[in-house]
Symmetry: C2
């Protein structure tokens, strides 16, 4: 791997300039700005990196696909990323223009610097660097870059389903998001899924006077209060029948990982604005990432202004999200949720506002051990190995639709300000990402019998 | 009483002109417009009616007090009314200017026409008419007119407490509000009281991401849902300890009255916008006026806009009113409510936003029978005799603070549009009110031994 290091030192300026070129090209999916031009530039760039690359139509913006196959039967890794970025608003808040990459204090400031152009370029440049250092890649490599991650990846799963053969792989490897705030790398093995619903209860056709009609007109706020009371106990236990049926018991390996995760209670308490937080580290991470939730995001009914208004509200609405863990299925949970509502409050309407499947790649797989070792070597630091994220990403496309392990290793700095003004990536994070991908590819070579 | 009728016919134009003069004088308590001038005009007018009248200071706008005592030991009736009016906004919606009384189709249009200037003038002109017809009043008469009814009568109870001797009486008689929509007069014997509270639950100091922090940060919306669930069962029964302790059992006379009240289920269902209303008349009136409520006026927490937002809200607020019935005491109920919150959710804050005591004058009193007969005679129609209103008025000032029976007989037409643009009173309603007061005074004479 000394060759890799030498090449990275030698080509530092060249690689940065190539990233700057990509960052100058806007590709705002929600606003349909610059998408085609950006995708075409990347295809050409991938070809220059030694990949057989092309645009592929999807039901939305085109997918970019590239591959380099040394032996169809050898170990294959699929690298996933996205070329679209968030809108740059508010423009006033940027110190330098969002599509004019600018270096300040060792960081590259531009929309997409961290999310995800800096990270996908690290992966593509790693392929080029590895090829130039070793003459060939140690495994088959496929790359899939989509243009709709920032709008919720609406067509990714369908595309992957239709192209199972093309995308056949042994592992999916993603670099997105920030590293740990201690500066340590993260190896992330899954995410919680999500189900978002809205409940609406109706009483009379309009608000009524609470004195003149009190006790006569049903109150939809009470209807939802009583319905919600049947869904979750005051102890936090979720009472929807069958809700926990498919919750996967954490493995011993996962339980061990939770114990090793860095945790500073006071720091977490400050971050969430809840000083009396009273959880130890393993409990915190277990509840956060391996247990499902039933959360009220909003409850709105009747008068909410200053002082008093004496009404019986005509309607009440509750928005809820459920964070789901492997192997809960959002469609199944939605059916159980609707059944519960039908049994307890049949007149309450349920709307489905979104869903995402949970994912979890077992921590005790060989491939996880190998990737983790490679990351440790690349950074010279112990990685934070996390069985699951509390939040939700479309990671189940890989673990469920393709049915393969998926590992996420973020390359951006913790304060990359993704989705915000002055988004940035540290130059060291960008170069470190190239190095890390090289180490991961190299280590995976042992599954293809090419290295190790 | 033929003399009274003759005088009313003779003085029709004169009496209307006197009402118009009062209606031209704005007296908007919330805006402090014209209050003093209005009060002074009324004092002079009361003197011209044969009353010993004066302004008396209160902690707010002055009270107007007048009396005509024929014998300190004789039966006394205290007539209550108010000289303040609602603001006239929105001005655009008035057909004729609010302070320029205008007759159209037999109605007088002006702010205060029905609420309460037309009705208090009917009472004052009845005193004048009776005096001119009979030479003396049959009972002692006291008149108390306040200038703060439209702002919730904040100083009435204190004033009455401080002037118990001056205001000593055997009956309080009020004309305010509308007659029955069938055109029949109403004899109203009480009101429900009210207690208004606001509950606030707090979780973290700010909204947190429901994925990144879900299961870690407590959700105040859930706190209130679970707390509310301990306060009222899904069957509507209120579970706050001791809540029903002081609820007065309806007397047989009251139960009989409920059966006689006019009730058209379909019509009520249309009025409240609830087509599936399924109550018979006596049940409707019992629940509406003789049973207490625990009502959610508003529940607000977290996101209420379109679509989904994935947060754990930082706060949740519920506004509730309780309609109380005799002999529940709002202070006592507030203590019980706070005790309940302390037991079940000690961190939830309770704010007291207002209270009014319930009142009920027993239906089987002689004085109720006599007034009802007088009203029947005056209108030539069977009065609607109602043990209690569903709504709340400061009627307990009389039944509790003074400890005397109180009877409310509204004179305005059902569609008086009080508090709305184009407020009005029918000329017949105004003149009918004068006649009715004369009949009531005359009938009460039997308690003073002067008539009957």
């Amino acid at each position: 791997m000394q060759n890799v290091s030498a090449l990275l030192t030698e080509r530092r300026g060249e690689y940065l300039e190539q990233l700057f070129t990509l960052l100058r090209q806007p590709s705002i999916s929600t606003q349909n700005v610059g998408m085609e031009a950006c995708a075409e530039w990347i295809v050409r760039f991938m070809q220059s990196c030694g990949l057989d690359a092309r645009l592929m139509p999807s039901d939305g913006y085109p997918m970019i696909y590239g591959e380099r196959i040394r032996d169809p039967d050898a170990f294959t890794v699929l690298i996933y990323g996205h070329y679209d970025v968030q809108p740059p608003d508010p423009l006033d808040a940027w110190v330098s223009p969002p599509f004019e990459p600018t270096v300040r204090d060792g960081r590259i400031y531009a929309r997409g610097a961290g999310d995800n152009k800096g990270q996908l370029m690290a992966q593509l440049l790693a392929i080029k660097t590895y090829l130039d250092a070793f003459g060939e890649l140690p495994v088959n490599v496929k790359v899939l870059l989509e243009g709709e991650e920032e709008t919720g990846s609406p067509h990714l799963d369908g595309f992957v389903s239709r192209h199972r053969d093309l995308l056949r792989t042994d592992l999916v490897y993603t670099s997105d998001g920030p590293m740990h705030d201690s500066g340590a790398p993260i190896v992330l093995l899954g995410v919680r899924g999500m189900l978002y619903v809205e409940l609406t209860a109706r009483g009379a056709a309009w608000d009524n006077h609470s004195g003149n009609k009190g006790n006569i007109v049903p109150n939809p706020a009470w209807t939802l209060v009583h319905l919600l009371g049947t869904m979750k106990g005051a102890d936090g236990h979720i009472l929807i029948e069958g809700f926990y049926d498919d919750v996967r018991r954490p493995t011993e390996a996962e339980v061990e990982l939770l114990k090793a995760l860095p945790y500073d209670r006071d720091r977490v308490a400050r971050q969430i604005g809840y000083p009396t937080l009273d959880l130890d580290g393993p409990t915190y991470y277990r509840k956060l990432s391996l247990e499902p939730t039933l959360n009220i995001c909003g409850f709105h009914s009747g008068y909410g202004g200053e002082g008093s208004k004496t009404i019986i509200p005509a309607t009440a609405t509750v928005k809820m999200d459920m964070r789901l863990v492997a192997d809960q299925d959002p469609d199944d949970i939605y059916r159980k949720f609707c059944d519960h509502v039908r049994r307890h409050a049949p007149d309450v309407e349920v709307r489905h506002l979104g869903a995402m499947r949970p994912s979890r790649t077992p921590a005790d797989l060989d491939v996880v051990r190998v990737v983790t070792e490679a990351v440790r070597t690349a950074y010279g630091m112990e990685p934070v190995l996390q069985p699951s994220l509390g939040g939700s990403l479309p990671d189940a496309v890989w673990t469920k639709t393709l049915g393969v392990p998926s590992i996420i290793v973020p390359y951006a700095n913790f304060d990359e300000a993704n989705h915000s003004p002055n988004e940035n990536i540290g130059i060291d994070n960008f170069l470190g990402g190239i190095r890390c991908t090289c180490h991961v590819l190299h280590a995976l070579g042992r599954f293809a019998g090419t290295v190790g």
